[in-house]
């Protein structure tokens, strides 16, 4: 006789117990662990359900309930003036108030707001004031959160001689209600005689705020049980299809470079990362390139090819499964056999010419310069499997929550009579919003912020090498690290290639970044790179290192990393009164102390 039926041990109604048994049957341990995390998360969410009859528990990380937030969008200063007056009234009435210009309002706070007043003008033909563009964009996008717990009111300013009188105020008023927030009283639409509407609106706003904030009795705050960190189901072999939230070009249209800021959603993936980690992307190859190769080889795209247990049309092999941009030595040799061309044979035989050939050309160049006959099967077998591309993550989860941001330079150049692109950068730069990219996290244990928050951090990140440092600065700001931050950045032109310029300016202003040294190589007759800036600030740099700073270099491996290393060594030698050998030893010691990390590619 078997033991007691297992159902009896499960605190579920019988039908659900049976369902559960069928559900877990055959699942591997990774999936079972994921399930446990999933249900723990559900449990936590239920505890905070607003529909609960009893007094709601308050999540610790929200903004305090007892606060009024006033946000204004102002072009000529009228909305600002009114908002300031209202803030003064509220403060004089003893209410905790914060007043923010729309472009200084942290959008992530919105879901935690409980009482919000917006004072906003409308420009021209129904446009928001410049400082509110970002807020209006966010609120009207699908990224706007549900606002069931928010109470609000809106005061719009405008000029009734225009058709779209107070359009922005009306739009925000409607949208907030649409997102579930509660309108406390009717919107005010103030004309050029502003006070006619503004005065009574302000009086009602003050009265409502006093009523709401006084009535909320302080509740005991409860730390929610964190759901067990789910062991993720998504890996390199089983990548997560991350939704593309943003794909924004960072360089201007007249820049020689096309560098993009990509935002991917990790929502519901269970994935997490630390600053310094990389995101692996399984990029499909550019369809146009696949078709060009098939054309050059005169192969039929639909031919079924079976290889290593999989049967797919040839085109799909080339799109998703095979490396067709970067050349591999084995493939060149195999192709040379078939091409039987003296020049190619000479290249293959040369230990100098072959590496150069491999680095300068893509497979399409080889195939068109030296024609050869391939059949579909052999072609697939001879090509190397497609490898994922890794990108340093340009964000911190503590700042962007369930997202990962990337800074991607589109590789595009003309050579050997045709245009060339990089497979992954082309894939990412052509992703539409709402499309998906197969990704996974690749931890980078050797590129980590210091555990000790008081340590200073020196970051050298020209070009897209700046990516992880965006995450570093976000992280250190979010956790309130007391150590100082110093960034060296460079690119060709200040006016067109200053990646994330406005964010760095804000970081400096807010004291989240203490020093920013810039090198725009082509802005003057002589080239200036980050290594010159390192030499110019050698004395202070050495002082920071002596004070225990951690040093990071990220970016191009071929020349930059070497030049930067030499500049560091020379700075240490000069300002530390050391010989070149001792300066090298100093840097080696930093490496062994895990205070000098490099992420170069």
């Amino acid at each position: 006789m078997s033991a007691e039926p297992i159902h009896a041990l499960i605190p579920l109604p019988e039908d659900k117990a049976g369902l559960l048994m069928r559900l877990v049957d055959g699942l591997d341990s990774a999936t079972l662990n994921w399930l446990s995390g999933y249900t723990a998360g559900l449990a936590a969410a239920h505890a905070f359900a607003p529909a609960h009859e009893t007094a709601p528990l308050i999540a610790v990380e929200s903004a305090p309930q007892q606060q009024l937030t006033i946000v204004f969008g102002s072009q000529t200063g009228n909305a600002k003036r009114l908002a300031e007056a209202l803030a003064r009234d509220a403060e004089n009435a003893g209410l905790a108030t914060r007043l923010l210009r729309a472009d200084a309002y942290p959008l992530r706070d919105l879901k935690n707001e409980r009482l919000l007043y917006i004072v906003i003008s409308t420009q021209g033909e129904g446009d928001p004031p410049d400082d509110a563009r970002g807020l209006v964009e966010f609120l009207t996008s699908k990224r706007a959160p549900k606002l069931d717990e928010l109470k609000f009111a809106v005061l719009g300013l405008g000029d009734s001689s225009y058709a779209k009188f107070c359009a922005i105020g009306a739009q925000l008023d409607a949208r907030l209600a649409e997102l579930g927030a509660t309108r406390l009283f009717a919107r005010g639409d103030a004309d050029v005689d502003i006070d006619t509407v503004a005065k009574p609106w302000r009086a009602r706003a003050l009265a409502s705020a006093r009523e709401i904030l006084k009535a909320t009795a302080p509740l005991a705050t409860v730390t929610p049980l964190r759901p067990a960190r789910a062991a993720t189901l998504w890996t390199r072999e089983k990548p997560f299809a991350a939704e593309v939230l943003a794909n924004q070009r960072l360089t201007t249209r007249d820049s020689a470079k096309d560098i993009r800021h990509i935002e991917l959603s990790l929502r519901d993936s269970g994935l997490s990362y630390e600053p310094g980690d990389a995101l692996g992307v399984w990029a499909s190859n550019p369809p146009a390139l696949v078709d060009a190769i098939l054309g050059a080889l005169k192969l039929d795209a639909q031919t079924a090819v079976a290889h290593e247990g999989q049967t797919l049309p040839l085109r799909d092999w080339l799109l998703d499964k095979r490396e067709i941009t970067r050349l591999a030595k084995s493939f060149v040799i195999a192709h040379a056999h078939r091409a039987r061309h003296d020049d190619l044979d000479a290249i293959v035989a040369s230990p100098v010419a072959l590496p150069r050939f491999l680095s300068e050309r893509q497979s399409i160049d080889l195939i068109t310069a030296f024609p050869a006959a391939w059949n579909a099967q052999e072609f697939v077998a001879a090509l190397r499997p497609l490898a994922p591309r890794l990108y340093s993550i340009a964000s911190s989860l503590k700042h962007v929550e369930d997202e990962a941001h990337l800074t991607v330079a589109s590789v595009a150049y003309r050579a050997f009579g045709r245009d060339h692109v990089g497979a992954a950068s082309q894939f990412l730069s052509t992703r539409a919003i709402d499309s998906r990219a197969p990704i996974f996290i690749e931890a980078n244990e050797r590129f980590r912020l210091p555990q000790d928050l008081a340590r200073d951090v020196i970051m050298i990140g020209p070009g897209t090498g700046v990516a992880p440092f965006r995450g570093f600065v976000q992280e250190r700001a979010a956790i309130g690290a007391q150590g100082r931050n110093w960034l060296f950045f460079g690119n060709p032109h200040f006016g067109s290639d200053f990646l994330y310029q406005v964010e760095w300016q804000q970081a400096l202003k807010r004291g989240q970044l203490q020093r920013l040294d810039l090198a725009f190589s082509r802005d003057q007759a002589h080239k200036i790179y980050v290594q010159q800036r390192i030499r110019q600030s050698g004395r202070e740099l050495y002082a920071w290192l002596e004070n225990g700073a951690h040093l990071y270099v990220c970016g191009d491996a071929t020349r930059m990393a070497k030049d930067v290393h030499l500049a560091l060594r020379d700075a240490i030698a000069e300002h530390g009164g050391k010989s070149v050998e001792d300066a090298d030893a100093y840097l080696s010691r930093l490496v062994s102390e895990r205070r000098y990390s490099r992420d170069v590619y």
Binding site: Q123, E125, Q248, L250, F494, G495, V502, L508
Partner: protein
Amino acid sequence: MNAPLSPVELIKSASRRLRGTLLESLADPVTGAIADADTQLIKFHGSYQQDDRDLREERRVAKLEPAYSFMIRTRLPGGVVAPQQWLQLDAIATSYANSTLRLTTRQAFQFHGVIKRELKATLHAINASLVDTIAACGDVNRNVLVSANPLLSRAHAAVYAHAQALSEHLLPATRAYYEIWLDEEKVAGNGEEIEPVYGSTYLPRKFKIAFAVPPTNDVDVFANDLGFIAVIDNGELVGFNVSAGGGLGVTHGEANTYPRLADVLGFVTPDQLIGVTDAVVTTQRDFGNRAERKRARLKYTIDERGPAWFRSEVERRMGFAFAPAREFRFDHNGDRFGYTQGEDGRAHLTLRIEAGRIADRPGAPHLKGLREIAKVHRGEFRLTPNQNLIIANIAPTARAQIDALVKAHGLDGYARATPVRLHALACVALPTCPLAMAEAERYLPQLLGKIEARLERHGLRDAPISLRISGCPNGCSRPYLGEIALVGKAPGRYNLMLGADAHGQRLNVLYRENIDESEILDALDPLFARYAAERDGSEGFGDFLVRAAIVSIKPTTAQAEKSA
């Protein structure tokens, strides 16, 4: 008045005579902008911070700051410049600015698109051409205007000399400009220089002075805070009729801001010029509104306290009373195009430069053309107050060569353009002016084409109508003195103003508010029809509209004087 001072007053008083933190701002490599307070102070040095508004939004989403650049304006009393100077300024336009020269409605050059890290080098280069930019903007006396092409050469030369002397007299005393841009050594007392005329916080607002040589009112003398109307007897300058209190700036929707024409106060002799200027300027300095900048111009000071008070205060400071005004007459406030001859027999060629913008365009390489002319010309150039250019004092032997160069480079448009095109004025507006609400300069060619077509339909192709367009109500193209004016309100929308005269002695009035191009053309069309049918001889369009009561104009003091 106990109202708190406007923030700009505090910036001026903390600035150590206009130094502020300009040096630090120029040295900051993280931004192409200067600190907020410095944007007010740099005006006194002849520059405005601007950004390319066409690129604002795309740069914002790219997480880039606006495309900041600086406009630089020259101080050039009477707009006179030598050919060698022209060549140097042309070179500066190409190496530092956006390869154009902009002639303003105050006879000055403007450079656009100079980036911060080249600002000092640019100002160096301008000063090396013996032109400076001091006080071209800011709360000080601006560029002094002088009628550019009067018939009376000797008197004109005398007037010009007075204008230069007055401009120098009213230069700020601070050494800030020389220290910051020209690397002059700092001397004792820097930061605390005595400003004998302006005082330590300069004027409450801009101050504009113009000299008119009747019958030419190209300078629109009554639109200036202080005007000097030359009185000439037997070819000699005997003195000036003085006018005060003109100013055109308006703010939409603020009824207590309005354009005003100056009142004639009386007559002074040339030796009394500095005395009357100091009296008017210091009166404005001491009594102008420093709390509310949009009510700070001299016109409001006079209207608030009353013209009688103003006259007596000025006379008190001068130490003498005005003599009675002498008779004068203006016949036109436009330019006279093509060849004119001065009484001394020298020839002047007035070219039309559309919206004052000298650039190389396909089929019209004006910048190059004028450079070539400057290489051979032995006279001078004069910028007109109507955004045009006079090649002045052409020797008879040089005429053929100059004519050939003018023709070869498409600069001979003046010979073929319709009168409405010849006399049209437009301010810069977009993409650089931060105050613009609508297009002006960039829209002018298209607008003129449409207006010309309508005029043609009514047989009015040769009607000399003055049309002026401004991108905002500040009125830098003097729209309130246009027979037809468009004042920008929103992208593609303007207030249509009608009814000024063509002498600069009567303001226009609002006819239609906030309308687009098709509504503007539809509003004008029936008026053109009536004008064609009903005009009285050579009656002007503006005068016709008033006579036919299509618009109704309150007579101003200036007009009352005229008809007295």
